[in-house]
């Protein structure tokens, strides 16, 4: 390494120069990306998320056993060579169940986060641009939600609305001929997406409203307006792109919360119903036996905690990268 010929040095210098030229294509997003990649914790988190993502997509193929097949002959095994993480009281392979449970967790997290962000963004925009009565009404509603025992309400909704929703879905399925609408899994997901989105849109709405109200007074928006740009152009070309960063931060931070909420609902028995594997539900099923088979609780618990941890690390990284002045680590 030490003895580089002058030619090599020149070559590497010019290479570095070229790199610097490439790097000179800078922008706030590029800079943020560079900061994110440099953040070791965020990258560890991203790596774990990718692993869980692979489990979510290919879990059924990778799983050594059918996650819902019961084998009473092999029930209640401690971890061994055949069943890496043991089996539960119905003889189902825990490793396979945990692997396929990743799909439920990530699916719910993705949908809930984007539905809540979507609803919140639309309401925030309407609120800020509508002003007056609409604004007051919307923000009052958001205030109300903040003062609510939100998680309890979500659990309540899930506990009470399951059979009315199932009835309506059955009717809808008969009417449209789309059988999947009345499927148990679809109803589970529909209820969870709905209840969790209902309790979590208000944060996004406030965020967007605040962004719009402050951006609207900026010179570049005034300039656009003075040039005769329509409200729609101003909104979608100028204001939304500029308020995108805080939305991205909120979305990435809220992923972990959505996973936690789903598993908590399933743990309480009002979320994903058996036999679809869900970590929260698995923990609850085995909790009564924590004394005798602690691994049955700790396995899905560890998977859940690791995924939430990964999203928290990654979310913090995204927040730091997009807002270098944020105080989580600087």
């Amino acid at each position: 390494m030490s003895s580089a010929t002058p030619l090599e040095q020149a070559a590497s210098a010019s290479l570095a120069n070229r790199e610097r030229n490439v790097q000179s294509k800078r922008g706030p997003w590029r800079d943020a990306m560079r900061r994110l990649v440099k953040n070791r914790m965020a990258m560890v988190g991203l790596g774990m998320i990718v692993l869980f993502g692979i489990a979510a997509i290919f879990g059924e193929m990778l799983a050594p056993y059918d996650p819902i097949r019961q084998d009473l002959m092999a029930a209640k095994q401690t971890p061994n060579a055949e069943h890496w993480l043991g089996t539960d009281e119905l003889g189902r392979d825990m490793f396979s169940r945990i692997l396929t449970g990743a799909r439920t967790a990530l699916l719910v997290a993705t949908f809930v986060t984007f539905i809540a962000a979507g609803i919140g963004t639309v309401i925030g925009l309407i609120s800020a641009y509508g002003g007056g009565f609409i604004d007051t009404a919307m923000m009052r509603l958001a205030d109300l939600l903040l003062a609510f025992p939100a998680f309890l309400l979500a659990a309540f909704i899930n506990a009470t609305l399951r059979s009315p929703v199932a009835n309506q879905m059955q009717r809808l399925a008969d009417f449209t001929g789309l059988d999947f609408l009345a499927g148990k899994l679809f109803i589970d997901f529909f209820l969870i997406f709905g209840s969790l989105a209902i309790i979590s849109w208000s944060g996004y709405a406030r965020l967007i409203r605040g962004q719009v109200l402050s951006l609207r007074e900026q010179e570049f928006v005034e300039a656009a307006r003075s040039m005769g740009a329509s409200t729609r152009t101003i909104l979608f070309k100028h204001i939304l792109p500029n308020s995108f960063a805080p939305i991205v931060v909120a979305v990435s931070v809220n992923f972990g919360n959505a996973i936690l909420a789903e598993s908590a609902l399933s743990y309480l028995g009002v979320g994903i119903q058996p036999p679809t594997p869900s970590w929260g539900q698995m923990i609850n099923q085995n909790l009564s036996q924590w004394r005798y088979f602690p691994h049955l609780v700790l396995g899905p618990g560890a998977a859940l905690a690791l995924l939430i941890l990964a999203f928290n690390f990654f979310g913090d990284g995204v927040a730091d990268a997009l807002n270098p002045r944020r105080t989580s680590r600087n």
Partner: protein, 311 residues
């Protein structure tokens, strides 16, 4: 101060009415029919069913039932539990003090540990203690309460053998309470650490801190007298809001540690689809959040007199 508190209470009335209406309407249109469950083997006996329906007042119009329900609630009457067949208010009155004490212990732990670690983090900004504290905070924040509780139980009961399986309520100062409260405190700890760290960090760079140091005040005196007092207002707010949210985590911690509090009530209510119990528990948690939010405003008002005037 009193008009300020009254005004805050007034703003909460619509929230509580809406919450009452939501819980009411949800259990009205809810699934299944708890009366049929209650009748057990005789579920098909139509005459007995109608009589039971009448005795619980379930055959009257919706709005009448709701107004009645609100009026009863104001009197502290939440109806009778479908499953346990006792007055819900009786169950609630037994559970509220337990949960309140547990939450109080948890908030003390959050405050002491969180503020302490936050100060250390701020003093060692970007050095290893700060990074270690931040990482541990995120870790504790990432473990769901229903995972943390069994982990703690396995560790303390099975591996270390320090305690036996906890059950029941042993009073505020018992080790069972401290252990359960610590589990409850794990999740909100991160927010308090970060807020203290940010607040202390901001204040440390103020001129008056430099002045205090320049005139020879000890580092301890600077932190205690000049920094903390000025950095604490937002932390106090967070602590109050955390107190309001603790009931959510209590569902899991109390049921895992067999503590007969609000969380356990909600848990069993959910398991048995016991609507009077569920609505009662939800309404109480609404009051709980209202109470802690008003408490926050009062504390804030004391710390920062500008808030009191409402401007």
């Amino acid at each position: 101060m009193l008009p300020f508190i009254l005004r805050r209470i007034l703003t909460f009335i619509p929230v509580l009415v809406l919450l009452a209406f939501l819980t009411f309407i949800l259990s009205y249109y809810g699934p299944g029919d708890p009366l049929r469950v209650m009748m057990g083997e005789n579920w098909a006996d139509e005459a007995a069913y109608q009589q039971l329906r009448h005795s619980y007042g379930l055959d009257r119009p919706l709005l009448v039932q709701f107004i009645d329900y609100c009026r009863d609630m104001l009197r502290g009457d939440f109806g009778r539990s479908y499953i346990q067949r006792v007055e819900v208010s009786e169950l609630l009155w037994k559970a509220i003090p337990v949960s309140a004490q547990l939450a109080l212990m948890a908030i003390i732990i959050v405050a002491v540990v969180g503020i302490g670690l936050g100060i250390i983090s701020a003093l060692f900004r970007n050095q290893w203690p700060d990074i270690a504290i931040g990482t541990v905070g995120v870790l504790l924040h990432s473990i769901p309460p229903f995972v943390l509780a069994p982990i703690v139980l396995v560790a303390l009961v099975l591996k270390l053998g320090i305690i036996s399986t906890p059950s029941g309520w042993h009073g505020f100062f018992s080790y069972q309470t401290v252990i359960a409260a610590s589990c409850l405190a794990a999740y909100p700890l991160l927010a308090i650490i970060r807020q203290t760290r940010a607040g202390v960090g901001d204040v440390l760079s103020q001129d008056y801190v430099r002045t205090a140091r320049a005139k020879g005040v000890s580092e301890y005196g600077v932190i205690m007298r000049h920094v903390l007092r000025n950095a604490m207002a937002p932390v106090a707010t967070s602590l109050g809001l955390t107190f309001g949210a603790l009931l959510g985590g209590a569902i899991f911690i109390e049921s895992a540690f067999n503590i007969p509090g609000m969380g356990t009530l909600f848990f069993t209510g959910l398991r048995n689809t016991d609507y009077p119990l569920l609505t009662g528990a939800t309404m109480v948690s609404g009051f709980w959040i209202m109470f802690s939010s008003i408490l926050v405003d009062v504390i804030y008002g004391i710390l920062d007199p500008r808030v009191r005037t409402g401007k």
